[in-house]
Amino acid sequence: MNKRDEALRRLEEFALKLLEQIENKQPPYMEIPSRTLSNTVWDPERKMLLLGPAKFRRELFDMKEARKFMQTVLMLKLLVQAIREGVYPTIRDLYYHGKHTIEFIDHLGRKQKENTWDEQTESNAVLQDIEVATGLLREEMGISADVKGKMVGPIIVRSRGYEIDCTRMGEGAFGLPPNPDDLEIVKIEATYVLCVEKDAIFQRLNREEFWKRENCILITAKGMPDRATRRMLRRLWEEYKLPVYILTDADPYGWYIYSVYKSGSIALSYESERLACPGAKFIGLTTSDIIEYRISDEYVIAATDRDIKRATELMKYPWFQSPHWQKELKLFLKLKKKVEIEALSTHGFKFLHDYIIDKIHHGKFID
C-alpha cells in the first residue's frame, strides 16, 4: 500500500504543477515524453529499447491539444480518485467512469454536446501519457488488467498476507497478479527460470514435472507477453540473479516474443526500464535446429510471405544485430522453413526434455 501512496503523491504533484501555472495566470501546459517510433531508441549498453529524450508540450489553449489536455486531467482525477477510495479499476472501468457528456453553446449560439471521450483508445492513450509523464506505471497506480501469466516451481510468494508455495499447485499453476511488485518473494530455491511461449508446452512440462527434475521455475504468458509476466521475469532475473531461458517456436513471431521479453517492445518502450529482461537467453527453436537436431520433414512447415517479411524486418532491428542472430535469420530466409516446439517429438515424446537440458547445460543458446 505504501507504493500506491507514493504513486498518489506523484499524481497530486503533477496536478499541483498545473494549478501553480494557472494561479500564476500562465496558460497551463504539461510536458510529456513522446511515445513515437522516432523517439524509441535502442540502448546497446543496457540492451533495452528505451524512450528517447524527446518531449512535447500539451497546452490547454492549443486547438489541437485542448481536448487531450482535458482528457489527461480527467484521467489524472480518476487515478487519484481510485487510489484515494482504495479501489482497483481496470482500464475499461476508467473509460466508463470518465465518460460523460459536456454540454456547451457553439459559436452560432446552438446547444451542442460532446463526450469527454468516445472510444477506449482515447482514455488508454492519456493513461499512457500520464505513465510516461509521471514515470509511474499503471501497476503502481493499482490499475487492474487481464493477466495471462502463470508460473510453477520452487518459489514461495506472499500475496495479501497469504503464502503461496508454487511447488504445490498440482496440475495447475499460480496465476500472476496484475502487479507482481505487490508479491513478496518469501523463498526461492530454483536454479534458473524457463519461460515458454506456449501454454500447451507449459502444461506438458508441468505435468511431466520437468521443473522438479531441473529445479527451475516454469513460466508462460501464453503467447505475446503481458506486462505482469514480463515484470515477474524481470524480478526473478534482477533480484535473484536467476538465469532466464526462453523457448519459442522457430519462426519470426516466436523470435519477436523472445525480444520483447528481453529488450522491450516498440509500443511500450517506456516500460522497458521496469519490464525488460536483458539477461534472457534464447534456447530455441532456431532454424539451424532443424538441421542439427535432424527434425524430419513431416514437422517442417514452409514459411509464408508474412514470415519472410517479418524476418526481413527483424534483421534490421538493432537488437537482432548479433552475428548469431544474423546468421539464424539469413538461414531462415534461405531455407524458408519453420518448425513448432512440438516438432521436437520427431525423436520421441521425451525428446523435448532432452533438447531443453542439452541447450541449457551445454550453453547452446543465443544471448
Binding site: A15, L16, I22, L60, A66, K77, V80, F104, T116
Partner: protein, 509 residues
Amino acid sequence: MSVDLARETYRGLSPAEFFYRNKEIAGFSNPARALYQTIRELVENALDATELHGILPDIKIFVDVVDPGKNIVKVRVEDNGIGVPKEEVPKVFGMVFYGSKYKIRQSRGVFGLGVKMAVLYAQITTGKPVYVKSSTIDSKEIYEFEVMIDVINNRPIVLSHRSYRKDNQWHGTVVELTIEGNWSYAKKRIEEYIKRTALITPYANIYFKGPDIELAFTRATRRIPKPPREGLPHPKGVDIEMLKQMIAMTEENLSLRDFLIKYFDGVGKISAETFLKWAGFNPEQSIKTLTLEQLDELARKMREYSGWKRPKDISLSPLGEELLRRGIEEVLKPEFIATVTRKPSSYIGNPFVVETAIAWGGKIPPSEKPILYRFANKIPLLYDEGADVTRKIVDSIDWSVYKVKFPAPLLVVVHICSTKIPFKGVGKEAIAEVPELEEEIEAALRECARKLRMYITKKEKELELALKRVTFMKYLPEVASALSYITGKDRAHIERNLIDILEAKLRGS
C-alpha cells in the same frame, strides 16, 4: 440586275411593314416573350422620360389577364416623366423611325423603335389600338389618344382623341396596350426583370401588379446619376452608310475639314488637317462632291487613323459605385457588397464604362457558380446568358484565389454603359467579345473580388477566434473540476482564472 431589284424592293417596303414582317428580331417571337418585351419597352421609355431629365422616377406597371382562354393581356405603364407634347403623340406611337433618340448618347432604347413594335404587335394580335394619356410639365391640359399604325404607309391613325384641363401638377405618360401574351410563362422573367431594374435604378419607385403578384420597390436614394449629355460620333466609329447619312442631312456645303470639325467628337482644325493630309484628301474639298469610292476610302482611313483623341465620355451615365451599392443593398440584401466603376474607355471610337459589383452572403442563395446579373445601359439582360462575354469572363476566373468555395452565396453584377453596346446578334441580349471591353470587365471584377477576399479573410479570422473561444471554454469546467478534486482548491476560482488566461490569450492573437 438582281441587286438593284432587291434594293428597289427594300425601298418599297415601309419601315413599319418591314418590322411587321420581322417581329422576331425585336423580341416578339411568342406570346410569353412578347409580353416580357412589351413591358420592357414601356418601362424603359418611362425611365428615360424621367431620369434623363432629372426627375426621380415613379413608375407603376399593371398586367391584367383580360381573356385567359385566348391569352389576351392588358399592359399599363404609368410614369411621372416629362410627358409627350400633344401634337407629337400620334407620331411617337404610330410611326416607325420617329422619336427623340436620334442622338449619340447613352439611353436605353437605341432607335425608339421598341414602343412602336409593341403597338404593332398589339395591333396584329388583338386588333386593339394603343391608349396614351400624357401631359408635359408646362402643358395646361391632359390629353388622351387611341392610335394605330397604318402599316403600308407608315403613318399614325388616330382613332380617338380628347383633351381636358389639368387641375393639378401632374405630368407624365400612361400607355396601355392589349396584346396576346402568356402571363404564366412570362411571369418569372418579368418578376426578375422588375427586380433587376429596381436594382439598377435605386432612385426609382417601382410598383408592379400582375394577376397573382405584387412587387413594390421604394427608392433607396434620391440621387440620380448625372444624365448623359449629347455627344458627337467619334471618327473611329464611322462606316460608309453613316457618312452618307450625315452628309445627306448636312444642309450647308461644308469643306471636308469643317465637316470633320463640326460633326465629330474631339476633332479640331489641326487634327482634321493632319488626318486629311495623312489620308490623302484635300481639306478644302466640298463634302457634297465626294464620290462613292472617296466616301468608302474616307471611312476606311478614319477607322484606321491612330491619331484621334480618345472619345469623350460625357455621353455616358454610369450609376457609380455608391448608387450601385444602394441598389444591391435594397434589392438583394446581401451581407457584403463590393462595387467598382472603372474609368471610361473605348472600342473603335465608342466610349464605354464598365461597372461591376460582387454581392456575398445574406439573402443570396448558395449556388454552384456565381449568379450573374447583366446590365447594358441600365437594361437588365435576361436571355442568352450563356452566349454573353460576361459569363465567359466570370467563369474563367478562378474564384478559389479569392477564397470562394462553391457552392457559395456569390452574385456578380456587370453593368456596361456605352453609346454603342456591342451586342451579339439581333436579340440584343448578349454582349459580344470585344477585347477592350473584356479587359475592363475582368479588371473590374478582379478588383471587386479582391475586396471580397479581404472581407472573407476578416470573417474567417473572426470565425476562427469564435471557434477557439468555444473550443476552449467548453473544456474549462471539466479541467477546473478535475484539478479542484485533486488539489482541493475551489473549483470556481480555478475556472475564473482559466477564463482570465484564455481571454488574455485571445486578445493577444
